[in-house]
Symmetry: C2
Subunit: 249 residues, 2 copies
Amino acid sequence: MSEFAKGEVWLVGAGPGDAGLLTLHAVEALRTADVEIQDALKSAKVLEYAAGAELVFLGKRGGKPSPKQPEINARLVAEAKAGRRVVRLKGGDPFMFGRGTEEVLALVAAGVKFRVVPGITAGIGGLAYAGIPVTSRDVNSSVIFLTGHDHTGLSPEGIDWAAVGHAAGMIVLYMAMRHMGEISDKLMAGGLSGDTPVAVVMRASMPEMRILDTTLARAAKDIEASGIGAPAIISIGRGNLLREQMAWL
Amino acid sequence: MSEFAKGEVWLVGAGPGDAGLLTLHAVEALRTADVEIQDALKSAKVLEYAAGAELVFLGKRGGKPSPKQPEINARLVAEAKAGRRVVRLKGGDPFMFGRGTEEVLALVAAGVKFRVVPGITAGIGGLAYAGIPVTSRDVNSSVIFLTGHDHTGLSPEGIDWAAVGHAAGMIVLYMAMRHMGEISDKLMAGGLSGDTPVAVVMRASMPEMRILDTTLARAAKDIEASGIGAPAIISIGRGNLLREQMAWL
């Protein structure tokens, strides 16, 4: 990968949380950056690598709403045009439900050079910390990843949930906690058994990780009763049953 | 992550090829290992980190067939029982079509302690190097990953290809080069347009990366004519059209 030059924006995947899942490219970018822009607060260990950079936090704070995407894009462009090396730090991977595409296209439109540094996505690497393999030769040779809400805040209307249930041996949902009741109903209406094993993994890869084992029929109620909140990854499929044998943390 | 103790086996994802996509945990494991066991040759830069370890190569060599999985499992167990720190280095992520589950279950059965260190999978991070985002808010809010062959060497018989075509806005295939004609036919029979954009990315993330742009109807013939060979990732969907705007290497 080429050198991080002044006036460039690097979109960097931070992984699911454990700082040890940062890539070498991510660490180098954080060490070189003049400014580091993030939505959600990252762990202190991750931010240690950016000790030399100004830290800009664009997330929700003090009850104020999050800034809109166009504001974030404009800030990225402005920092780059000011001649700074800008790291845009994203949870997981920038292209896995991270809105990385929108930011890249805004940079391209403004003539700002960029790089994308892939990260470990929580739906693969975070689940591994919970002992859940997203694929297994004897269980499933396919896995589908979906986000539980679209830009309207509702579950995606364009999704053919019956097809989802038939297409993949494992279904992994991001940002789906609020809509799990609706999603479960649609998957069951599409033919998936209510007994299908479901795991809900909160704060995957972090010391405070919590895991809830449930089923498709019970998931929404069990999530509510458990007090488990976002951010969480939900995996649906027989591969969850391997967890008991594989838990390794 | 705890310390790498003698007698343990760590399954470590090496990422798609670029050594800069190794995680900090992966580098630490390679530096600590007494023995490093791999199928496919990894880049010299990746192996520099394992300079202190014995290197065991279990892949095809000199026309001999690859060792069977039970032989690999037995070797992992034997090295661990001999009190060594064993890194089992895998391309991409150990749980994304990497047979990691089988190896972990063999270790569990033998009473060998293990860890899994997730890696960047080529179907996400490798495609990013080609300028292909696996998800984009305006294009697709779901992505499905499949392997193009099962343990019989044929394309997986259990796959409902019509459902696959309807379930996800982006389809990413691993190890599918030999069966692309059959897979394309099944996806088109299931309703996917022959004009659907397809990208074939060989040696993703490496300096020798090659990219073929084609369509579902033409993919198999174009792959044959191009001379592009395995290892390659095939992505199917409108997201491929963003590549022209986003190519960044």
